[in-house]
């Protein structure tokens, strides 16, 4: 089995994943039956309607939640807990920052536990905070920051960690258009420099196409992978030229149509 798992050097392998939230009063099938795989060093974007189970999927992949059925393999090993070298940017960015720590300490904390030397840590933190546009917020507490700033701190924390696998759940939802563009470029740059495997949830179709090498389109629940669109854009992307490419427009229209198709399929089914 583990041999099979390693075939095609799949870094992340999700097989028949199903998750049902059940308590005495309510049973929700958050994820129906998901199967897909990411190669090492791939950047895939995940789009899907609100409530379709993207966050749930991410938490299963991160080893934070036990699937009801199916399994997740990371680098050939089944995920039974948070694997090392992984970073997650949570959708609830506000709640994922520790209010008792300053921004600097929040970003530095995972680095400390990665046993990175002090000087290097300092450098990483400074660079990450500068990269997300918060070079002067070190000493502030998260609750002294605006929503978008908090979200950027959460991103800085993940980025400074230099993970091998990066899971991001709508990480740019709270920032303005320009900052968003800058952050997109930051992620692409880091991805290329550090050879990370990235799974990126977004609601923005343009963003998905601009960022990803693949766009996974999920259907509404019971969630399935409705479509898997390869993004054949050049590796070197830039906000102005790439978005102006006819291929970009074609892809975004294509993704848009596939999403619509997913909705219609659901409506027809429902």
């Amino acid at each position: 089995m583990s041999l099979q798992a390693r075939k095609g050097s799949a870094m992340l392998d999700v097989r028949g994943l199903n998750k049902v939230y059940a308590d005495r009063h309510r049973t929700v099938e958050a994820v129906g039956d998901l199967t897909f795989a990411l190669r090492q060093g791939e950047l895939a974007c995940l789009v899907g309607p609100s409530g379709c189970g993207k966050t749930t999927l991410l938490r299963c992949v991160a080893g934070l939640l036990a699937p009801t059925a199916g399994s997740v393999f990371l680098d050939g090993r089944p995920v039974t807990g948070p694997p090392p070298g992984m970073a997650v940017v949570f959708q609830e960015y506000g709640r994922s920052l520790f209010p008792w720590m300053t921004v600097r300490d929040n970003v530095e904390l995972p680095l400390k536990h990665k046993k990175i030397a002090k000087g290097r840590r300092r450098e990483l933190v400074d660079r990450a905070l500068a990269a997300v546009g918060l070079p002067d917020a070190h000493a502030a507490y998260p609750w002294q920051l605006s929503g978008g700033m908090q979200q950027r701190v959460a991103i800085a924390r993940a980025v400074a960690y230099e993970p091998q696998v990066l899971l991001m759940d709508e990480p740019f939802a709270a920032v303005d258009a320009q900052t968003r563009a800058d952050l997109e470029d930051l992620i692409r740059r880091l991805w290329r420099e550090l050879d990370m495997t990235i799974l990126f949830v977004t609601h923005d179709i343009d963003e998905a196409v601009y960022l990803g090498e693949r766009v996974l389109i999920l259907s509404a629940s019971p969630t399935r992978v409705q479509d898997d669109v390869a993004i054949g854009l050049p590796d070197d992307r830039d906000q102005l030229t790439t978005r102006a490419l006819p291929e970009f427009t074609r892809l975004r229209t294509h993704v848009y149509e596939r999403i619509q198709a997913a909705r219609l399929a659901k409506t027809a089914r429902g």
Binding site: Y21, L64, A66, S71
Partner: protein, 273 residues
């Protein structure tokens, strides 16, 4: 197969706690009693001073066959429940008022801090002068001691309100009372529950102590008699009964908590994941 194997460990899918909890608890109690049996048996202390569980059990059986024992349990329970109810009600009302009116809180804080550490034993002459050995004497001591526990927990609980939730309520024009009812109270509830559990035990302890010292009828008086007579197993049997009352109270509080705090992280975290 791998599917089964790969079922991640971090969270059990379904809480087996419903069945396992009480079993574990009973095991814990059994361990405690076992230690109590072993310590005198191993000669760590003379069994004339600390009776082993088996002898306590015999004495307990003897007590249980005595009608007066049950009357005493009834008396103690009455004093305890009434005292606790008064303390909880008063503590909650006063606590919420003090915590939500900043000036009032500041004006009373030094007085509260002054009164809080005054031991109930210092109030015994006062209680005797006012009410003699009656129920009210016990109640005075019980309420005085347990009131502060609730009050403090409420005051800390009220400040735990999430500011965004509070603002939401204010934004929709909810008045002070509505905010207390719908926002402040539920937020403070976890603290209050802890307060009630603390106060319940303190009230029980004080009920017994008051009976023991003042002589109001109840389990405490029986403990005093057993103590003065050197009837060690009987005394421990009565103490064990007190302890078991405490355990029962806690079971009740936990059940209440599972209902009232179903929404709270502490409860949902253990049930739902």
């Amino acid at each position: 197969m791998t599917k089964a194997k790969s079922a991640p460990v971090p969270h059990r899918a379904q809480g087996p706690g419903a069945v396992r909890g009480p079993l574990l608890g009973a095991a814990g109690l059994a361990c405690l009693l076992l230690v109590l049996e072993a310590v005198p048996r191993l000669g760590l202390v003379d069994d004339a001073y600390l009776a082993p569980t088996s002898r306590i059990a015999v004495a307990l059986a003897g007590e249980a066959g005595d009608g007066e024992f049950w009357t005493a349990v009834g008396d103690t329970l009455t004093a305890w429940i009434v005292g606790l109810a008064i303390a909880v009600a008063a503590g909650i009302v006063v606590g919420v008022v003090l915590a939500t009116v900043p000036y009032l809180r500041e004006a009373t804080s030094s007085t509260v801090e002054f009164l809080r550490p005054i031991p109930s034993v210092a109030l015994i002459p006062l209680a005797m002068l006012l009410y003699g050995t009656g129920l009210r004497s016990t109640l005075l001591l019980v309420v005085y001691a347990s009131f502060w526990q609730i009050l403090m927990q409420v005051m800390y609980g009220v400040q735990d309100v999430d500011p965004v939730a509070e603002e939401t309520a204010r934004g929709y024009g909810l008045g002070r009372w509505a905010r207390i009812r719908h926002v402040v109270w539920p937020s403070a509830l976890p603290y209050v529950m802890t307060g009630v559990r603390l106060a319940a035990a303190v009230a029980l302890v004080l009920t017994i102590t008051a009976e023991l010292i003042i002589g109001s009828p109840g389990l405490g008086t029986r403990i005093a008699v057993a103590q003065n007579s050197g009837a060690v197993p009987d005394m421990y049997a009565l103490v064990l009964v007190t302890g078991l009352l405490g355990v029962t109270i806690n079971v009740g509080a936990r059940m209440l908590e599972r209902r009232a705090l179903r929404w709270h992280q502490s409860v949902r975290g253990e049930v739902a994941l």
